[in-house]
């Protein structure tokens, strides 16, 4: 990054003050609680109880069966049609779901719902839960603003009113849907955790105000809100990335000693690091490739920047990674007999290959299949066309990079001897070579994935979604990212204009809180020009001595690069909507945006312009939709592409304004602050309309929001 910075280091000093229990606070402070509650209430307000993407059926069936005490799917609780469903796998006459991590993490919510639905109707449990959440959020905002009595009373009455209205409007939700609801609760919590982690991360480096803006931005200004109620792996990945960034930032430097049961006094940083390895390892249980890539990326960044690589710390790290990977390996051994072959890589279930799904969803042994069905010839198998507008199939073939890379994983569980052959022929190896062989398509792929979607004639199967052009690019669904491009170009421009590559005052060192110094890219560029060899030799030392904020920037960039590489051969793809495969990088991008000096100046000096830009653009957007859409009468694909064009224009304008501000061509930050607000507002408008207008796939958990939207003619 060409942008310089000037972060402060006082939180580190504050941490040294003592190892009181407050050090282990989850939320950090009362504002953290408010960010968490508000994010959860916001994400929950547009929640639809329903299956948006078809392989969720298999994961929900996995959850229900795990709750009954077995990994095998003996009973199909949820199905779209009789027979197979995407994400269902058959091994040795038993059915399994494609991933179990998600199912197990959702178990507490499932058991909780089982208790609640014994005494209350599920639709009212959801409405009550959300209303009480609104009450808690209002009270907490009152605590933060030091007006608890007013906010407490008003919030309670408001929540009560919302609940009353919901009771009157509620449509039935069958109690049997508890499995799906539990998965959705897990996903919603993941979005709230993402907002909280971003708040704590940004507050750590740049104060609570920047933290709040980043936390609020995570929900309001990114596509996370849309995916909050879609229980895929993506929101979980985003939460993990956000938490990893925070723990990474908090564990640079030795930090205080804390007392841990059984271990005695340990450096807090070491505890956080091993927890981070546990977390990254657990991702493999949800999606093997993402887990391995995240673990590798984190390990690389961690070991390059760790303040200590003592034997004790390395053991802690290794133990953490092992603990995190244990459930993944155990599940694989149980299902496929192969510790590195997750259920997702086993053969997709097709009716007739040894298992039959009987009436009522009972799974019985059936006729053995006449030979192995080779999946490689049928990468889109199970991609049932849906009655809904967008619930495009998401079959094993195209969804998973692993299966996409090597469809040749036929045959039963293999012995260790076949392992090498298997690895070479199918998953990681084949996948890596696919990235290389498809490098020539980079301009086409990257343009359509990250810049402008439009109709992507090649590679994208529109037929699964009724030919609607609903797949947006990253810039179109996250115009906020324009600020990153602007800051980068602006920084370069500034240096070209001033002819100055090393900033004055860049001689500060880490201990006095100056961020530049040895670790800054400016100094680095200078040295590289003068002594290229020495600079390379001294690079590891520079990285290790850099300010924690810069080190965390490095991790954020590495996570982005890792995901972009991992999914490069698969994107663009159908049923992505907002490039959901790379959704986990959204918190990393929000963090990087919040770290830009220009953005921080906007938040610090002209916060009113930021809020005004957001509110005015949102009001203008709602009004424009209400006036223009009845006249245009756009089909869903046209509406999505209209949003895409507007968002792309906003993204470009934001990049331009930030460039000018960063380069010193514009001194006033009000313009940039307003542009940031507008970029957030157009995304809010997009994700809210996606949930309330364009993609209705279930019963609204909060019917009163649905009704208010109708009244406001959002559904023009």
């Amino acid at each position: 990054m060409a942008e310089s910075d000037g972060e402060t280091a006082e939180p580190v000093a504050a941490e040294r003050a003592g190892s009181t229990p407050r050090n282990w606070s989850v939320f950090g402070d009362s504002l953290g609680v408010a960010v968490f509650l508000c994010a959860l209430a916001l994400a929950g307000s547009t929640w639809q109880v329903g299956f948006f993407i078809t392989d969720t059926y298999a994961v929900a069936n996995g959850l229900v069966n795990v709750a009954e005490g077995h990994l095998t799917i003996d009973r199909i609780e949820y199905s779209l049609t009789l027979g197979s469903q995407p994400g269902l796998h058959a091994v040795d006459g038993h059915l399994y779901a494609r991933n179990y991590g998600q199912a197990v993490f959702a178990l507490p919510a499932y058991y909780g719902l089982a208790v609640l639905t014994a005494v209350a109707r599920l639709e009212l449990v959801l409405a009550a839960g959300w209303s009480l959440l609104v009450v808690a959020a209002c009270r907490q905002v009152g605590v933060v603003l030091d007006r608890r009595p007013t906010f407490g009373t008003a919030g309670s009455l408001f929540g009560l009113g919302l609940f009353g209205a919901s009771v009157a409007l509620a449509a039935p939700v069958e109690a049997e849907l508890a499995g799906l609801v539990a998965l959705q609760v897990l996903s919603l919590l993941a979005v709230a955790v993402t907002a909280l982690a971003l708040y704590r991360l940004c507050a750590r480096f740049h104060g609570r105000r920047v933290g709040v803006v980043a936390g609020a931005g995570a929900v309001l200004a990114t596509p996370l809100w849309f995916w909050a109620a879609v229980p895929k792996r993506h929101t979980l990945g985003a939460a993990v990335v956000a938490v990893l960034l925070y723990w990474f930032a908090a564990s640079r430097g030795a930090g205080p000693r804390v007392t841990v049961p059984f271990l005695g006094a340990v450096r807090k940083a070491v505890v956080l690091r091993s927890l981070a390895y546990v977390l990254a390892g657990l991702v493999a249980w949800v999606h093997a490739f993402e887990g391995v890539v995240l673990l590798g990326t984190f390990a690389l960044a961690d070991l390059a920047t760790a303040s200590t690589t003592s034997r004790r710390a390395l053991v802690a790290v290794a133990v953490g990674a092992s603990v995190g990977l244990t459930p993944f390996v155990a599940t694989n051994v149980f299902v496929s007999g192969n510790p590195v072959e997750p259920p997702r890589l086993t053969e997709s279930y097709q009716p007739g290959n040894g298992v039959e799904i009987g009436p009522g969803g009972a799974v019985q042994p059936g006729e053995p299949a006449g030979g192995d069905t080779d999946q490689s010839g049928d990468p889109d198998g199970g991609n049932g066309s849906q009655s809904g507008e967008s619930t495009g199939g998401d079959s094993g073939g195209t969804d998973s990079p692993v299966a996409g890379g090597g469809g040749s994983t036929t045959g039963g569980p293999s012995a260790v001897g076949a392992l090498a052959e298997r690895v070479r022929s199918s998953s990681a190896f084949g996948y890596a070579s696919r990235i290389v062989t498809e490098a020539s398509e980079a301009p086409f792929r990257l343009y359509h994935t990250y810049v402008r979607s439009g109709r992507i004639a090649k590679d994208v199967r529109y037929d699964v979604n009724d030919e609607e052009t609903i797949e947006l690019s990253l810039a179109e669904s996250l115009p906020l990212a324009g600020a990153l491009a602007g800051a980068f170009v602006g920084g370069l421009t500034l240096r070209l204009r001033t002819g100055q590559w090393s900033r004055p005052g860049a001689s500060g060192t880490r201990s006095d809180g100056g961020a530049g110094g040895d670790g800054s890219t400016d100094g680095l560029l200078d040295t590289v020009r003068r002594h290229p060899v020495g600079a390379v030799r001294r690079l590891p030392g520079r990285v290790r001595r850099a300010h924690p904020a810069r080190q965390t920037d490095g991790l954020a960039l590495a996570v982005f690069a890792a995901y972009a590489t991992l999914y490069y051969p698969l994107l663009p793809l159908h049923t992505q909507l907002t490039v959901r495969y790379v959704l986990p990088v959204v918190p990393a991008l929000v963090y990087l945006v919040a770290r830009r000096r220009t953005v921080r100046r906007c938040v610090a000096t002209t916060p009113r312009s930021l809020v005004a830009g957001y509110v005015l653009a949102l009001v203008a957007g709602v009004a424009a939709v209400a006036v223009a859409f009845p006249a245009l009468d756009p089909a869903v694909g046209e509406a999505m592409q209209l949003h895409a064009l507007v968002d792309l224009a906003v993204c470009g304008a934001l990049a331009g304004v930030v460039t000018a501000t960063r380069a010193g061509l514009v001194d006033d930050t009000r313009l940039a602050a307003g542009a940031l607000g507008v970029a957030g507002a157009v995304t809010t408008l997009l994700v809210v309309r996606m949930q309330l207008v364009y993609f209705e796939y279930g019963t609204y958990a909060v019917p009163v929001v649905r009704r208010v939207a109708d009244v406001f003619a959002v559904a023009a």
Partner: protein
Amino acid sequence: MDASRIVTLLSVAVVLGTLVVTGPLVGGTDAGRASPELGEGTATVESVQLTGSPSFSPGRFGTGVVYLRIPDAAVEFASASGRSRLVYRVAVPALGFDRVGTASVDPGTTHRGVGMSDRAFAPDTLDRDRYRVNVTVRVQSFAVDRTVFHRNVTVEAGDG
């Protein structure tokens, strides 16, 4: 204990109380449950009008498809008793397209609109100059199923 805390606790108590009272343990009343959409009703239709004519036109904003634009159907009733529904069906047999939109008809309804979204087609799938589009409107309930409107429209694909 301050007033705001009392209000909050009361609100929580009311919410939880409502949950239990309406739940399966306490009688499990059906109050608030949405009534079923379809009944045994019937309706006499006075007129059916389409708000336009079906047509093909290119998708806008870079969608790169051709849309079959489907007009809404506006139905006037002479009378309506019981619960029934309108079934608005548009089909293009040559393209394998067949879609229905429905709207419920409550007792005493005098007019009701029913529509459905436009349908996108990849341009290369439209290989004819013109297509026949079948449009029907039915009144349907558990007691009746009556076609009240039927029209075959020939639509030019050329401008698509």
